[in-house]
């Protein structure tokens, strides 16, 4: 087990390194610079600013210096928020994004998992068609359409829920979380339906029924473990999607999370902030993919014993 984790972690180091390198040079090739729109700045002041942020040095030595700082866990100072480091800014924004993402994934698992299982129990009946059509709709509808639509219905027409903010008004977390989770609920529904359909046709389900177990036990105890493996394997990629999807949600609902910082940093050419967010998110995504792979392998006893986890 430990060997597996170690070797997978080693494999992810080059991935993160490539992400850093590509991002570093790409943002430099984008036209404009961090101090370009401050027109009133004197040339000497601008030169001083650029010197302070190492922008006067050759590109490659900037790159080397950045990697050196990064190795010590320092993501550098922000260009646009003077006196604040990227580490600080991420620490302010990320908890909000993490909370939003957590709710979204819980919503996706609960709604998607239940409707997928329910659909699989009676395939090709209304009990299957209704949730699966909704799931198809959920996959097709982009969040930037679903978000405003939900705001219109529940915020403006019905006046049930606040239309923006995060933690300021009661219930203001509901719409953003649901908007973000909806598409993933749809994927989870389709995956769990497929997984359950496959498992429920297995011989061992017939064995369980022949033992006279109540249908509830047959489904929940004998069916669910195998049927949910595709969903668990999907959690890693879903996590990546939810992180990047949260940027859109944070913009629609005016939430001050990491996504908003990231988007603003891109507009402002805040080089260190863009890089810092990218490195941070890439690392998270790699870690979560590893975790979901491990969990999926662990859920299968045959793979578990191969990983040496039963000792």
């Amino acid at each position: 087990m430990l060997n597996f984790i170690l070797s997978r972690s080693m494999q992810s180091i080059p991935v993160i390194f490539v992400v850093i390198t590509i991002t570093f040079f790409l943002v430099r090739f984008a036209p404009g610079g961090p101090f370009d729109d401050e027109k009133s700045v004197e040339p000497e002041v601008k030169a001083a600013l650029e010197a302070q942020y190492r922008l006067d040095q050759p590109l490659f030595s900037q790159y080397a210096a950045y990697l050196g700082d990064l190795a010590q866990g320092d993501l550098g100072p922000s260009f646009k928020y003077p006196g604040r480091s990227v580490n600080e800014l991420i620490a302010t924004g990320f908890p909000v994004t993490a909370e939003l993402g957590l709710y979204a994934i819980l919503i996706a698992l609960c709604i998607g998992g239940i409707s997928g299982v329910v659909a699989a129990l009676k395939p090709n009946t209304a009990q299957d068609y209704v949730p699966m059509s909704l799931a198809m709709l959920g996959i097709c509808m982009p969040t930037f359409l679903l978000g405003p639509l939900l705001i219109l219905v529940f915020g403006i027409w019905l006046e049930w829920l606040p239309v923006s903010g995060w933690g300021d008004l009661p219930g203001d977390k509901i719409l953003p979380s649901f908007t973000l989770g909806a598409a993933y609920a749809a994927y989870v529904a389709r995956l769990s339906r497929g997984g359950m359909l496959e498992v429920m046709s297995q011989d061992y389900i017939r064995t369980a029924r022949a033992k006279g177990l109540p249908e509830r036990v047959v489904v929940l105890k004998h069916g669910l473990r195998g049927g949910m493996i595709p969903v668990v394997a999907y959690l890693g990629p879903a996590f990546a999607g939810i992180l990047s999807g949260s940027f859109v949600i944070e913009t629609i609902f005016q939430i001050h999370g990491l996504g908003r910082f990231y988007v603003q940093a891109a507009f402002n050419r805040d080089y260190t902030m863009i890089l810092g967010c990218t490195v941070f998110l890439a690392t998270l995504i790699v870690v979560f993919n590893l975790l979901s792979d491990l969990l999926a392998a662990w859920m299968n006893p045959r793979l578990r014993s191969q990983l040496g986890g039963n000792q």
Partner: protein
């Protein structure tokens, strides 16, 4: 003695898109306590469906019970609600199934699955149930019940899993045990053990048993009563001696005739010939053990020769290395050392590219005709592919060659545009054989080609193989776990155990006077 189960005029239809399938049509039978009823018939004869129907285990829709009664314990099972049936299933009537590899839940430990009937039917605590499970594991012949209780199904062989299944069926002390082809997926030696276990349990516990099988030979020592089914109807019934000794119906006679017996009619003494087609010397093939990383010798220093026109049988149980030997000879598995001389040329060290001309001359037939044909290719494409690949025919000639292959393996030419799923198991095995002989090979390795088939189909396929070997002057290595099957077909035989050949010789002399204990055990196991 009163009947334990009395089934009258049971009729179950499947209402499919292509019309009504009369799976079970007016079937009646009775089982008494302490008695074994064998229901015998080929795949699709409705023998399993008739048992599943009365327990509410058929998929519905499309299945529907149209008529009949099934009296058990003073009530009609066919009129019982799902909840009432659930009370009966697993507690009063228990089942064991054909494939022990797939019938146990791979995600739950053996113990967890064993105690479920006790917890749900007898409302025992987990500790009490576990106690009982351990003693029952002992009763079904599992040596280390404590360890087995906490183990996962994948850690066991097929025979051990079937023992676990039997323990699971017996745990709630049922009055009736339904065994649905419980030994069909097992080797003959394991089959014998399981049959003995079922018999012992039946006598010991004085329960009724319904034993479903496609093979009359299997039920011979077990059954008190026999019901023979064909296409949903009972064609013959009677007590076991009368069915076996003076069968009435033609179909019963056909089933009895299908039991492999006798030896190859024209067995030729090939030991004298001097130029073998294939000569294998000191072949060793090893695999790395997943856990320890040690090398494990699947084929351990094996030498043999195969003459032209000869069928050499290779017999042994699962895990004896016989399939690996077959694959090593064709270089489908990389062997570690030794030599393989094919038609005077050493092929052991050839690269994949240098091997290609030889590939045309050596082919393989696999066990499972359901898995070994590409479901997305028509039969025409499957048969034409090797011809095109080896540049043997094209255009109108290709057409002609494929149609001739269809004739060769006894399939109607009109079927050539169909897909594998439209064929039965026996027909698919014919297709697989056609694919193997398409390139006019000299050597064919047949790896358990009849083990997945019903006995009646098995007989037809064996006859087809004999005919083709003779017609095309093939040399064949025929791999099987069943000595009786090998005897029908082979001139010589090798017996393999744990990677080594323990005995070899002319088929008839090995059959009549086996030298090794293991060969003797194999002989005794044949039903």
């Amino acid at each position: 003695m009163t009947a334990l189960l009395e089934v009258k005029n049971l009729t179950t239809y499947f209402h499919t898109r292509n019309g009504v399938v009369k799976a079970v049509d007016d079937v009646s039978f009775t089982v008494k306590s302490g008695e074994t009823l064998a229901i015998v018939g080929e795949s699709g004869s409705g023998k399993s469906v008739s048992c599943y129907s009365m327990l509410g285990l058929i998929p519905s829709p499309p299945g529907r019970i149209e008529a009949g009664e099934a009296w058990f314990d003073g009530r009609d099972l066919l009129k019982a609600s799902q909840a009432e049936l659930r009370q009966i299933r697993g507690s009063k009537i228990a089942m064991i199934f054909q494939d022990p590899m797939t019938s146990l839940n791979p995600y739950l430990t053996v113990g967890e699955q064993l105690i479920e009937p006790l917890i749900f039917h007898h409302k025992l605590s987990r500790a009490e149930a576990a106690e009982k499970a351990r003693s029952l594991l002992q009763e079904v012949g599992i040596r280390d019940p404590e360890k087995t209780y906490h183990a996962w199904p994948h850690e066991f062989s097929g025979g051990m899993r079937q023992r676990v299944m039997i323990a699971m069926a017996l745990i709630a002390e049922p009055k009736l045990l339904i065994a649905d082809e419980p030994t069909t997926a097992l080797d003959v030696t394991i089959q014998k053990q399981i049959l003995e276990l079922v018999k012992e349990i039946q006598q010991h516990r004085d329960i009724g048993v319904i034993f479903i099988s496609h093979d009359l030979a299997v039920v011979k020592d077990l059954a008190d009563q026999v019901v023979v089914m064909k296409t949903g109807r009972v064609v013959e019934r009677g007590d076991a001696p009368s069915i076996f000794n003076c069968p009435d119906h033609d179909y019963t006679k056909k089933l009895l005739a299908a039991i492999p017996a006798g030896s190859k009619a024209s067995a030729h003494d090939t030991a004298q010939m001097s130029h073998p087609l294939l000569s294998v010397n000191n072949l060793v093939t090893t695999f790395a053990d997943r856990h320890s990383g040690d090398r494990f010798k699947a084929v351990d220093d094996i030498s043999f020769e195969l003459q032209r026109g000869e069928i050499l049988g290779l017999v042994g149980e699962s895990g004896s290395g016989k399939s690996t030997l077959g694959r090593s000879v064709l270089k489908l598995a990389q062997s570690d050392s030794g030599s393989i001389v094919f038609d005077g040329e050493e092929i052991q060290d050839l690269t994949a590219k240098a091997m290609r001309p030889y590939r045309r001359r050596m082919q393989m037939i696999f066990q499972d005709p359901y898995a070994s044909l590409n479901p997305r290719m028509t039969i025409y494409d499957t048969l034409a592919e090797p011809l095109v690949l080896h540049d043997l025919a094209k255009g109108p000639q290709l057409n002609k060659a494929v149609l001739e292959l269809m004739d060769d393996v006894g399939l109607a030419r009109a079927y050539v545009r169909k897909y594998p799923h439209e064929f039965s198991g026996g027909q698919r095995q014919r297709i697989a054989i056609g694919r193997a002989i398409a390139t006019k090979p000299e050597l064919v390795i047949a790896d358990e080609p009849v083990s997945a088939l019903d006995v009646t189909i098995q007989k037809q396929i064996l006859e087809l193989i004999l005919h083709l070997v003779d017609k095309h002057h093939l040399s064949m290595l025929f791999i099987s776990h069943d000595l009786a099957v090998v005897r029908v077909l082979c001139d010589r035989v090798m017996v393999m155990k744990q990677g080594r050949v323990v005995e070899s010789g002319l088929m008839e002399s090995v059959w009549s006077s086996p030298q090794h204990d293991y060969t003797e055990a194999l002989l005794k196991a044949a039903p």
